[in-house]
């Protein structure tokens, strides 16, 4: 739709490598699970890789975990509008301006799909936003980093969206129906986003010296945070414990953090080579035996620091969000007041 001249039909990201289609094919299979008691039925559905739907019985913890995960995913989309949204007014061409506006709009849309999915579990948009504003529900920590140059917009599309897609494609086969369906929609749209980011950097890398430096500088700053998007390692000192196992048993999480991170690195390093950009990791090296790219140690101290609130933009992102919400209160109330008046008028007229 937007066109690009850098390549090939080679898949750029996990969504284009078939995962989404596979998930969609799954949807057509018939529900052939026998009834038993509620927990048994739930377990049987999971074992048969069938979907749990809103009115099904589900364990309380399953529901709570999903609400939290889906809500935080939705919050990430909404907060994610800010770092790139910063550049809409400064986009250096009208085409880029349009694409960036469309992307930001898509992100709002993704937030909406996800809030909808979470609401099927019995929470409400208002409750979730209150928790976000109070700091009790989180969003992806990657958005606590600042976008300092135009090239950052490209880097976010290429690296951050690329990592997000890697996380999201498996979710298209998540056990909870509304979440899986929302993710199928999201993944299809997100694939374009990553292509646009890559295209921005492609043009910069082949542009003036200043543009090339801008692109390299952005890659230098966004590489490691992107790797951190997959979360702490599954084993070793920095590992975090049992959440992963339970989530996997419930069909909410399909692959481990380390597996996804490795897949991302394997997919992205050749893309960096194609772009002619270095990645800021001296330990990055192809390992023939393993059949994967080896990479260096992630600074988990930085990761926890940022997650816990001490990143460059945490306060700013949340404040921006809270302000938009509170400044809009009078508008939301007015709309409700009008709706109430209209109902009353309709009733008296009837």
């Amino acid at each position: 739709m937007y066109g690009n001249d850098h390549s090939s039909d080679a898949p750029l990201n996990a969504a284009e490598a078939g995962g989404v289609d596979e998930a969609m094919a799954h949807v057509d299979r018939r529900d052939s699970v026998d009834s038993g008691d509620e927990q048994e039925r739930f377990d049987a559905l999971l074992a048969a890789d069938q979907r749990i739907e809103p009115r099904d019985w589900m364990p309380d913890d399953y529901r709570k975990t999903l609400v939290r995960q889906i809500a935080q995913h939705a919050h990430s989309e909404i907060i994610g509008m800010q770092p790139e949204g910063n550049w809409i007014t400064r986009a250096p061409s009208l085409r880029r301006k349009a694409i960036l506006m469309a992307k930001s709009q898509d992100e709002a849309g993704h937030g909406l799909y996800l809030y909808s999915a979470a609401e099927t579990l019995g929470t409400s948009r208002g409750e979730m936003l209150d928790l976000l504003h109070a700091g009790k529900q989180k969003y992806s920590s990657i958005f606590n980093y600042p976008t300092l140059t135009w090239a950052d917009v490209g880097a976010i599309g290429w690296l951050v969206d690329g990592a997000a897609i890697m996380n999201q494609v498996p979710l298209c086969r998540c056990s909870y129906g509304p979440y899986a369906r929302a993710m199928i929609r999201v993944c299809k749209e997100e694939s374009f986003h990553q292509r646009q980011g890559f295209e921005i950097l492609w043009n910069l890398a082949r542009g003036t010296d200043a543009q090339r430096e801008m692109a390299q500088d952005a890659a230098n700053r966004w590489w490691w945070p992107s790797l951190m998007m997959f979360g702490p390692p599954d084993t070793g000192e920095a590992a975090q414990g049992t959440h992963t196992e339970l989530s996997m048993a419930w069909g909410i999480k399909r692959f481990s953090n380390d597996d996804l991170r490795q897949k991302f690195v394997d997919m992205t390093v050749p893309q960096a080579q194609k772009l002619g950009l270095d990645l800021p990791d001296d330990d990055l090296a192809w390992d023939d035996e393993r059949g994967h790219w080896n990479f260096g140690e992630i600074d988990w101290d930085e990761f926890w620091q940022v997650v816990k609130g001490d990143g460059p933009c945490n306060a700013q992102r949340l404040e921006h969000r809270r302000t938009a919400h509170s400044e809009g209160a009078w508008v939301r109330e007015a709309a409700n007041a009008y709706a109430a008046k209209q109902s009353q008028r309709a009733e008296s007229a009837a």
């Binding site: 909404i78 509008m81 800010q82 949204g85 809409i88 007014t89 400064r90 986009a91 250096p92 061409s93 009208l94 085409r95 880029r96 301006k97 349009a98 506006m101 469309a102 930001s104 709009q105 709002a108 849309g109 937030g111 909406l112 809030y115 135009w150 921005i200 043009n203 910069l204 542009g207 003036t208 200043a210 543009q211 921006h320 969000r321 302000t323 938009a324 919400h325 400044e327 809009g328 209160a329 009078w330 508008v331 939301r332 109330e333 007015a334 709309a335 409700n336 007041a337 009008y338 008046k341």
Partner: protein
């Protein structure tokens, strides 16, 4: 530059500057659904701007849409003052859209008959878009005007602030007179009646008063702008101008 090119530049600059202002709303709207609606309107306007600037560029020696958007200085822009006003609060934005989208719908409905095929084709597409934009503004004017006491007060204030900028939309100048004579364009003054009727109707239904401004903005089509435009262009053009000759 010939009259048709200048005319397209005026309409295109209006759309471009307003699209820019609407873009500022993303991540700041009162509800996520409104981020989407305002984003949608902004994108439509940006699309109109691109078509119009491209056409103006082709008619005037082969400059591109980006050359025109990013390399012209303040005095070369031909937009009206209305679109330059800061985004303001949601009421301010709705008030401005009510004025501008009503005008655009009246304008494009007539431009469908333009003898210039590019303008005519654009108008056919734009009519559908701005029908929706105007409807959005009307729906919100009703809700804010006839919502709570606070929203009523604020919406009235927004209308009072924006009304002095409406008159300029209906001011005929050399360019518009020339293109209207050719059948390429539409005389701005011919749009006033329809627009005033729409506004009077909507404001009445919204329990709002029609403002009676004591001053009127003027001069935008001649490059005599409000002080807002300079800042807007500084932000909009900065990156492009910092890298002369670069492509993005």
């Amino acid at each position: 530059m010939n009259a048709t090119a200048r005319y397209c530049l005026g309409l295109g600059d209006d759309a471009l500057v307003l699209a820019h202002r609407l873009g500022e709303w993303l991540s700041r709207a009162p509800q996520i659904e409104e981020d989407m609606a305002l984003g949608n309107i902004g994108l439509d306007l940006l699309g109109q701007a691109r078509t119009l600037l491209t056409h103006a560029g082709e008619l005037s020696g082969g400059r591109s849409e980006d050359d025109l958007a990013y390399l012209r200085d303040e005095r070369e822009f031909r937009c009206v003052h209305l679109v330059q006003l800061p985004r303001g609060d949601f009421g301010d934005t709705v008030a401005r859209q009510l004025v501008f989208s009503t005008y655009q719908l009246a304008l494009y409905s007539r431009l469908v008959e333009s003898t210039d095929p590019v303008i005519s084709a654009l108008a056919s597409k734009a009519v559908k878009e701005v029908t929706y934009h105007r409807d959005h503004a009307v729906q919100w004017t009703l809700r804010l005007g006839d919502g709570t006491a606070e929203s009523h007060r604020r919406m009235q204030a927004s209308l009072d602030a924006v009304w002095p900028y409406a008159d300029e939309l209906f001011t005929d100048d050399d360019v518009s007179v020339a293109v209207a004579a050719d059948g390429v364009g539409v005389l701005p003054s011919s749009l006033r009646g329809e627009c005033e009727q729409v506004w009077a109707d909507v404001l009445t239904r919204a329990t709002l008063e029609l403002p009676e401004p004591r001053s009127h903005a003027r001069g935008g089509r001649d490059g005599r702008h409000s002080e807002h435009l300079g800042y807007l262009l500084a932000e909009m053009q900065h990156i492009a101008r910092s890298h002369p000759g670069a492509t993005w």
